[in-house]
């Protein structure tokens, strides 16, 4: 569904992705783990098109992505819940969600929104308040809900569990599993590597801008080096 080949990207003159190869098959959950600064966020930003690339190629559902601008990638079915949440702080919660479905104006928008509210009831409670006033975790919920509003074929989640209460972390990972059941592909970046690999089908390990390891999730969880470096056991 999504394949990334020899992807390079730089900030100014400093290259931070030095040729990343990654594949996500349709209906899969793929987790990317790595230390702070490994380049996970940069990778997702490249895929969603808000970060320019300096080399390599990306193909999504058979279409090369490089020349497609960010907003059109959403139309193609790529949707991202970004790091740092990036909600529209000056707009209301409801407006944030409505804009998540910016490309649509059919009746399904309403039902999708109802679903989002069902998933995160607190958002419904605060639907008419400015999103900037939400607590950190509530904003994270909003970011995820907003990404879902875009009816993605492939969802990019950058540290979705960040700032969420334990009870919700479990819930988010359940949601991810449910998405898979709905046929939605998920590319998941998580610092909470153990939890991420538990729901994932496959995983990639990223180190300083390179993929250093990949394989089925169970295999990675079992790997000694990974346990020592990322799982803290």
């Amino acid at each position: 569904m999504l394949s990334v080949e020899n992807l390079r990207s730089r900030y100014g003159r400093i290259e931070v992705l030095h040729g990343v190869d990654l594949d996500v098959r349709s209906g899969e959950i793929v987790a990317v783990v790595g230390a702070n600064g490994a380049g996970k966020t940069t990778l997702l930003r490249c895929i969603s098109g808000v970060q320019p690339i300096s080399g390599g190629s990306m193909v999504f559902r058979g279409e090369p992505l490089q020349t497609v601008s960010a907003h059109r990638r959403v139309a193609l079915g790529l949707s991202q819940s970004p790091e740092g949440r990036q909600i529209f702080t000056n707009l209301t919660v409801e407006e944030n969600l409505r804009l998540g479905a910016y490309l649509f104006s059919d009746a399904r928008v309403e039902t999708d929104m109802a679903e989002a509210f069902a998933l995160f009831p607190i958002l419904k409670e605060k639907r008419n308040l400015a999103a900037g006033g939400l607590s950190g975790g509530q904003q994270q919920m909003l970011a995820i809900a907003r990404a879902l509003m875009a009816r993605p074929a492939c969802l990019l989640l950058d540290e979705p569990s960040m700032g969420l209460a334990p009870i919700l972390v479990a819930q988010i990972l359940d949601v991810v599993k449910n998405l898979k059941a709905l046929g939605i592909t998920v590319l998941l970046v998580e610092q909470n590597a153990y939890a991420a690999l538990q729901v994932a089908d496959r995983g990639y390990v990223m180190e300083t801008g390179r993929i250093t390891m990949s394989g089925p999730a169970e295999q990675l969880i079992a790997d000694e080096r990974i346990r020592a470096a990322y799982l803290g056991v």
Binding site: H71, R72, I87, T89, G132, M149
Partner: protein, 290 residues
């Protein structure tokens, strides 16, 4: 009493001009957080193009439409050729770009047109309407009606339409806007086109009263900017109320206090309002938390 009424009518007329200019600032600001200091030049273009097209034989309504379209095109060009290319530049740099554009447009206008003052006929004649002993020109009503209409349309645009929200989202968080599928470049282009068109409309409506010339942009941009800040930048209601208030303060000061310091009084009122309400009368405080 008649005097007060006369001051009020005069203040409303001038205030509506300021309000129209201030309303023009709103859209670009709402799309990019940039105050477009070239806004006054759109006002100038509106008046000047209408005049020259009219003089060339076009009927006035057609000339006005042409001017508004042309100004919108200039707005789009400004965005495409300059603002968009400086994407990611700090806001102050974008402001300097708009100041540069303003100088450029003024320089161009003095070449393409001339440096004379011009005027075209008022839409509904010059016979003043008498209200309780005070008078107002019919064109004054046109300006007031124009300001009210533009305000209403902008209000609806930003509160009721998805495109309006998308423009707000673009300014609030450009990256996030792109991530939800908003074509932010298009939003910027649209906002420049609309802002320029509103500015030109202001120029068309006010020229029969205020006259027009290649260099009137700065003065009106300044007043419009002050009005918009008084009301709260980015809020259509703020622009309307701010503009009308500014006009009224000036007229009433000139009438009752001193015509020498009427602009000074206007600025003192603005300062006083801002000290009490740092976001202007209708401005929203941004709700970012720590």
């Amino acid at each position: 009493m008649t005097e007060l009424l006369q001051y009020v009518l005069s203040g409303l007329t001038v205030g509506a001009v300021y309000a129209l200019v201030a309303l023009g600032f709103t859209i670009i600001y709402n799309a990019s957080n940039v105050v477009n200091f070239a806004q006054g030049e759109f006002v100038m273009l509106g008046g000047m193009i209408t005049f020259f097209a009219w003089q060339a034989g076009l009927p006035l309504p057609l000339a006005a439409a042409l001017a508004i379209l042309a100004a919108a095109a200039v707005g789009v060009a400004l965005n495409k050729l300059a603002v968009e290319r400086a994407r990611g530049a700090p806001v102050v740099s974008l402001i300097i770009i708009t100041i540069g554009a303003s100088i450029f447009l003024r320089g161009g206008a003095q070449l393409v047109f001339d440096k004379q003052l011009h005027r075209f006929p008022a839409f509904s004649g010059d016979e003043p309407l008498v209200i309780g002993g005070a008078t107002i020109l019919p064109q004054g009503l046109w300006v007031v009606a124009g300001a009210a209409t533009v305000f209403a349309l902008l209000y609806l645009f930003f509160t009721r339409t998805l495109t309006g929200k998308a423009i707000l989202a673009t300014a609030n968080n450009r990256v996030a806007a792109r991530l939800v599928g908003i074509n932010t470049d298009y939003m910027m282009t649209l906002s420049f086109a609309l802002s320029a068109a509103i500015g030109a409309l202001a120029g068309v409506l006010m020229t029969p009263i205020t006259l027009t010339s290649y260099d009137l942009g700065v003065a009106y941009a300044l007043k419009g900017f002050a009005a918009a800040m008084l009301g709260g930048m980015g809020v259509p209601a703020g622009a309307l109320v701010g503009g009308l208030m500014l006009g009224l303060i000036e007229a009433i000061t000139a009438g009752y206090v001193s015509s020498v310091y009427k602009d000074a009084v206007a600025f003192i009122v603005i300062l006083a309002v801002l000290f009490a309400m740092p976001q202007g009368l209708f401005g929203r405080k941004s709700t970012d938390r720590v």
